[in-house]
């Protein structure tokens, strides 16, 4: 299972994602932001970091690079795409998932472990969890507050993937911190499953996010 990991200037979670995908049994490879053709891959992950310095809005500049057209083709081919943190912001800026991830309620960068509820298991990334399963993963972001004008659609179409369990650290609408598109193949999450992919890191709850793609 060949998985492409997109690298923008400023991406910094690429190597952790590479390692997690290898642990999950995949064959990851890096892709530079100006590569237009991604057809060699079976799935794509957009990792976290600070692409283009988070300038203008986090993910806004990555959203207009050539590789995004390649990602849109991947989506048309019905292959899975996962955006983690900055990757989630990029997918929202492109409009491949609804809504925005904007400045945290208290205007602070939050870096902490959180508990999350898995809201749907219909995506490749969450199919190996149980619905309503509570898992632990770290978040590390300043612009993670989720907002959408289409909250009713998100409920009706089962597009909410993850929500904060217990405390809502960043003021996200309905504590939402992961969403997907209507097909359930494009998933944008703020927490970092690659940072919870091995027990030695504090939790391996995140590994199934990657295992779910590998055997898809």
């Amino acid at each position: 299972m060949k998985v492409g990991i997109i690298r923008f200037p400023g991406s910094n979670c690429d190597r952790d994602v590479f390692h997690a995908l290898e642990l999950a049994g995949g064959q990851p490879d890096y892709v530079w932001w100006n590569q237009r053709d991604l057809s060699q891959f079976d799935a794509i992950v957009i990792p976290g970091g600070f692409s283009y310095g988070d300038y203008l809005r986090a993910g806004s500049i990555a959203a207009i690079t050539p590789v995004i057209e390649g990602i849109k083709d991947i989506v048309k081919d019905e292959k899975p795409v996962l955006g983690i943190c900055n990757g989630a912001q990029i997918l929202a800026e492109v409009g491949l998932v609804p809504g925005v991830f904007t400045l945290n309620e208290k205007a602070q960068f939050i870096c902490e472990w959180v508990e999350l509820e898995v809201k749907t298991t219909r995506t490749p990334f969450t199919r190996m969890y149980h619905k309503k399963e509570v898992i632990k993963m770290p978040i590390a972001h300043a612009e993670g507050r989720y907002y959408t004008e289409y909250i009713d659609q998100l409920h009706d179409q089962d597009q909410i993937v993850l929500a904060f369990e217990g405390e809502n650290p960043n003021g996200s609408m309905e504590a939402i911190t992961g969403v997907c598109d209507q097909e359930g193949l494009v998933c944008a999450i703020m927490p970092h499953p690659e940072r919870a992919s091995e027990y030695i890191l504090g939790s391996d709850d995140g590994l199934k996010f990657f295992k779910g793609i590998i055997n898809y």
Partner: protein, 84 residues
Amino acid sequence: MKYDAQVEINLKKGMLNPEASTIQRALALLNYQVEDTSTIEIIKFTLEAEDSDVAHDEVVEMCERLLCNPVIHDYQIQINPAGD
């Protein structure tokens, strides 16, 4: 012709502005009690266009494609002949 463009980007009414709230609280620490604090982002540049309508339309495209996020932003554009 060269035109000076100025784009003012506001958060939509009702959207939380944590930066503005923080500024208001920080002013209070200095004993300035202010209300209704908001922040606006301004982006300025010069562009070449046939006339001011063409310039305006191009800047609208820039706002829609990059400068603003229509989910959370409203914007105003000012176009003036360069150097005014």
